[in-house]
Symmetry: D2
Subunit: 432 residues, 4 copies
């Protein structure tokens, strides 16, 4: 299904007057701080985050899964869902695919379908954490039970390399320009493997994949300390990820998934480190309280999200940091919320953190830092964070034809009900 | 399949001489400390731990599952596997069932099968964390997506209560004497539910189940801070579990699963607290590095396991603590090991920790404690822990007809190969 | 030194016009949501948090301390500092003393001094974590090296009990009505003490102190998992604290220090549990990223602070929960910020979280909860949290004679410089 | 005071017969496994760990310190204490000094004193986490309140660099060959400093110090995630430490302090990474349950200590890893134990882990790894770990003139009592 602009306009009507007033008074407040609301709206409007194809259906845990109706049963329907998200939020313009779950039957048609909805294809993702029997990612029928690119058996590594190359081929057909290699590789028990040899095998395998990349493509490595392996991960932390990226090649960079860190990790500092080294690939946004919980971005640690954007804004606003442009993606799991509502909430939270960070008077902050004035630096940060910039986000959406209040519009327009009607309640989307 | 005593004897031959020598010299060392090896062997031999029916097949994570061949395809085959574990290890004499995965078609026949293998039925477990469509645990066809005993909808609570009562009925038929109620109930997002009302509903539902228990039955509540819910759990910690046990009734006690705690928790202190209150039900043994990893008991934090037995041994050896007898169970998941080998290793690790704790000169330890002499208390604990008591374990097994070296015997006797031959490589056991 | 109203008025002038405008437009926005700004201002204005006498000077770590000048060198000067905080913020009207650091030489004079500054005396705090040689809290000259109320030596326990009774006597003279008993008691090494006996001794000692309390006094127990002991704490968690409170008496309740929890703890759920049991004493506010960091309240986990107030607001607004009135205190350490600025920032953050929680449409939230609608519940919570209610706080302060922008006023009025001038730069305040 | 060999021999007498028997039967068991006890004894005997001068007195927390009597009141007395440790344990042959706490008045005399006790000088340590007024490490009288090598003020950085150079000069005089630069530098509050600029300043300052090193000297960087700063540390993790080491020079390497990691960190994997990169400096041994608890090595996570040695043994036994020789040091704090007893226990625990790791049949382990046999790999590791190799340690000590049972000998010989008699009970050692 699609949402046309008349429907969205209609959904906007009830909020229109209040919204105009909110923009007006916020603009006045910002002007008092020497900020130009128009520039802020333009920047926020231009900020676009990719949605993950694997998270358009209900997610689950090892304990179970409770599907919602109307889940997309095909790649085309997933693209349609991304189109719905775009129509409402105007904060996403691309979709990140996962192979073999999202193999296009006809790449040209798939591209056209997406283009018609204003969507491009973001980084493609390979899958070597499952054995997909009888499928192209298992050309040799060998198992990933004990790893893929790190495996002690060269044949398994070869199979995994070939699968990644296949993913690149699909990506090329769709116009993607990067591959994300998240590896489940690791061990469950002390002694199970030699850490160093595992690492060296992954490094060599990544080099092989990298060599076969089109010259304008980038490769993203992604660290994670545990799960699905519970004693060690090969790409356990940003240090390991950086070693791999450097060994692999110039266009290999490190992706930061917010949920992939040990308790209490200062993630914003890791972001700073990777930017400093010119090796930050971008983000997999989500939120967590305990582990890789894959919750809605900003629903638990919203100030941390803001602090990450505080690190980014210097780079985004044209500072001296040398790093290629960043990739923005959501990677979440929706076990109990409607996946589309959850993604809309994530998109809003990310834009909000960006908008707040844009308010920072950076020179004043630097001064407080140079004078070792933490209390004043905190005033500056909290003043930005505590400002309610939601009207700017809504205005940015509105100007691009989106909804003033996307979650509410989604409900008002009965999107889920219409999806269930169209697709039935029995479909289960491929994904996590 | 079954292992007969001749097979095990044969497997023991190669180790026999060395074993006798090891028992001899260890006995001599222990005698020097004033310990009676015969008494220790008898206590270790009498210590029996239940195995979980749901962990006799390969386990998995949300990312995938890699089955091993020869998994038990029926309750009878699960009981057979428990029989194999018993034959080799002599450290297990019961099996803990999970309903609806393990519904006996003929309770009498099932009991006889088990009895023939020297097995009884330990606590039965209910399942309200999954929707088992078209099944008896879903009499009303309502979903547990948003909880079971805590649900805001009285009908769902009723369904969950009825399922628990059904589990008790099965347990009664099999001779079990306790029900373990582990609840996945909780929330994924702040604000999703009112903590207090959720708690009160669980409390009231537990009371209903408790009222229907046979008078000699016990009920076990089990705490867990997160997973499958990632913002809050209703029975999140021992404090909550104790409140529920007290509200429910005298025979309601608190089960401690070693993996169900926040990072750095002092679990042995929690064990002491629950014993002090007379409300310790027993254990779900496993090990973990990060989260509820469900690894082999003792494979990561073996000293912690010993310290837990240090707390228990005062009670087990007849101290002044008033607590009903404890239930000993394993609750692990075997994602990459052979489940039977994994369970054999867990059984050994548990017996080892018990054996080490039995070495403690308790009066000397109390004296060090009374005199605030932590260095000496540490000497006492480490002296017990560092002693290699494996010969006592082997001797205890041997005397009951078990294997001197169970994992090695398992392999020498080709058990897995024979299971695959018998059952095929395609069966997938029900369970986690 | 004191700040007179003319000074504060003058500091307010520069912000006055903008503030009036901010209040105006926020009031309009709130009215649209059906909220009465006047009621909100009144509630926020009435909300008062005690400041800790031990945190008016620079704090330190075991690695060092870097004093700021002008620290209060006497109890009178500490009271003066609390008066400055009150003058600027109007969010504090009491001070919480720590004995033996804050023994009044003349209780009547001390009371009058405080009263003249609009201050009362909040809960008094005992100190049994240090050996204060030749002092009244060491009547028997025995050491707390191995604990106080938990000590194996009855004489040490007696000394600690007597010290607590002495603290109560000082409190009575000053008009306090509660004693906070935070215990450092615990162990550094496994085996050092018997957990159960330690607990029982603390319980019996608390009972002794409780018996001697004036009938209108309350006793607060406070849990903490570690530090200064690094293997176990006697009052390690809310469960232990609740057991102690119940064993001690009706007016013994459990205090929650935000920094006293293991990584990832859901503190708001603990707050709910203690309220449910009618045993919540109140709070020691601060913030932390790793451990008991004692940072400015709200500087790291501001959403968590809000979620705590979400739990509280049902009680504060007159719901059905039966719990005595709560005690609100800050307990922070200011290692690198000016202590007074830090406290002003904490006071603002606490009032902000309260103000945001007051915006919640509680009936609508309950409906979302009853219908298991986590996405909508999140919208409701985030709508409250994202609203910039700072103008209401400023207005509440202004109406009571305080500063529109307290930190800025503090600097504009040169408070620290004047304190240094008055007291010198060499004074070091007693405290942590 | 000193212990002469006759005293130690006498203390050994009571254990002598049992010890000889234990060595005999263990040797027999090891021979059965194809291991040569003589070689093991030789390796264990050759393994020597430096003791920290700053931990020879009682340690403390921010809450207090409870001195034991007889603490060393001068550098000479500290060296004497290290001599006592050497006399008893024969597992230490060097002392690691901390400047300005341990400035030798006459380097030649100090060296001779040490040599007479069989001691050399290990890495020297600088101190830029405290302001030592009127002292040589504050040549410019500037404060480290806001950092040292990372400071925004070039003058403070210069002062800190000069202090480090002074430390090197003292080290050269004493025969040390490395400087350990542990930095407290970091921030307490978000926004307080720019992470990147802090890092770059530390990097540039380290380069300056490195340039001035004698050509045979090494520099060690040491990571720590938090404390004394509670929002960020500049050298927060091994990744940051490695970046600094590489930027600084070939002889700059990364030191691993076991207590300087976030909860659940897989430290043995970090050890493997740094070895792989040829940048592992060595260790600061201790143990912890929660934080940087600085407890006795091996008193909490003894299996983790063993797993670290499993990583090391491949290197130590002459594998293909290219890394300079490692530095072995203890860094602990003794708040409630006698410091000397605590250090003796740490030395034993370290040697024990090394001895256990030496038992590993490395080829068999590699085979299990190559065949993805985690259950068997676990058998191999646990077989080594569960073996009681204490008799080998005692024999290694005995052959060098040490005590069979050092802690017991320490008490039997009344060392602490004699120290108190000699030095009095009022001395407080400089240190942490």
């Amino acid at each position: 299904m699609r949402l046309n602009s008349a429907e969205i306009e209609k959904a906007n009507q009830v909020h229109s007057a209040a919204h105009r007033r909110d923009v007006e008074v916020l603009s006045e407040q910002l002007a008092r701080r020497g900020l130009d609301p128009e520039k802020l709206i333009a920047k926020i409007g231009a900020f676009q985050v990719a949605v993950p194809s694997w998270a358009l259906g209900t997610g689950g845990t090892r304990f179970g899964r409770f599907p919602i109706g109307g889940e997309p049963g095909s790649l085309d329907q997933k693209i349609e869902d991304a189109g719905l998200l775009r129509a409402l939020s105007r904060q996403t313009a691309s979709i990140s695919l996962h192979i073999p779950w999202d193999i296009p039957r006809d790449a040209k048609a798939t591209r056209e379908l997406a283009a018609g909805l204003g969507l491009k294809f973001d980084a493609v993702n390979s899958n070597t954490f499952q054995d997909a029997k009888n499928h192209s990612n298992m050309p040799r029928g060998l198992s990933y039970k004990f790893g893929s690119l790190c495996h002690s058996d060269a044949q398994v590594r070869r199979q995994a390399v070939e699968h990644n190359l296949e993913v690149v081929r699909y990506g090329v057909e769709l116009g993607s320009e990067a591959i994300t290699v998240w590896l489940a590789d690791g061990t469950n028990y002390p002694g199970q493997a030699n850490f160093r040899r595992q690492f060296e095998r992954v490094r060599d395998s990544l080099k092989e994949i990298y060599k076969a990349l089109p010259p304008h493509w980038a490769m993203f490595t992604e660290h994670k300390p545990y799960e699905p392996n519970f004693y060690s991960s090969v790409v356990s932390d940003w240090g390991s990820s950086l070693l791999l990226a450097r060994a692999t090649g110039e266009r290999c960079r490190c992706l930061v998934d917010l949920g992939h860190h040990l308790p209490n990790t200062n993630i914003e500092q890791i972001v700073s480190r990777l930017l400093m080294e010119g090796r930050l690939a971008g983000f997999h946004f989500n939120d967590s309280k305990y582990s890789d919980d894959d919750l809605t971005t900003g629903c638990i640690k919203s100030y941390q999200l803001f602090l990450i954007f505080v690190e980014l804004v210097e780079f985004l606003e044209g500072g001296s940091i040398k790093n290629p442009p960043l990739a923005w993606m959501i990677d979440a799991s929706h076990n109990t919320k409607d996946p589309l509502e959850d993604l809309v909430q994530s998109l809003e939270a990310i834009a909000l953190a960006y908008g707040q960070a844009l308010l920072l008077p950076r020179r004043e902050l630097e001064e407080a830092q140079d004078h070792n004035d933490p209390a004043w630096a905190q005033e500056i940060l909290q003043n930005a964070y505590r400002t309610d910039v939601r009207p700017l986000l809504a205005e940015a959406r509105l100007r691009q034809g989106g909804a003033i209040y996307p979650v509410e519009a989604y409900r008002r327009l009965g999107v889920r009900e219409r999806l269930v009607k169209e697709r039935g309640s029995g479909t289960v989307a491929t994904g996590l």
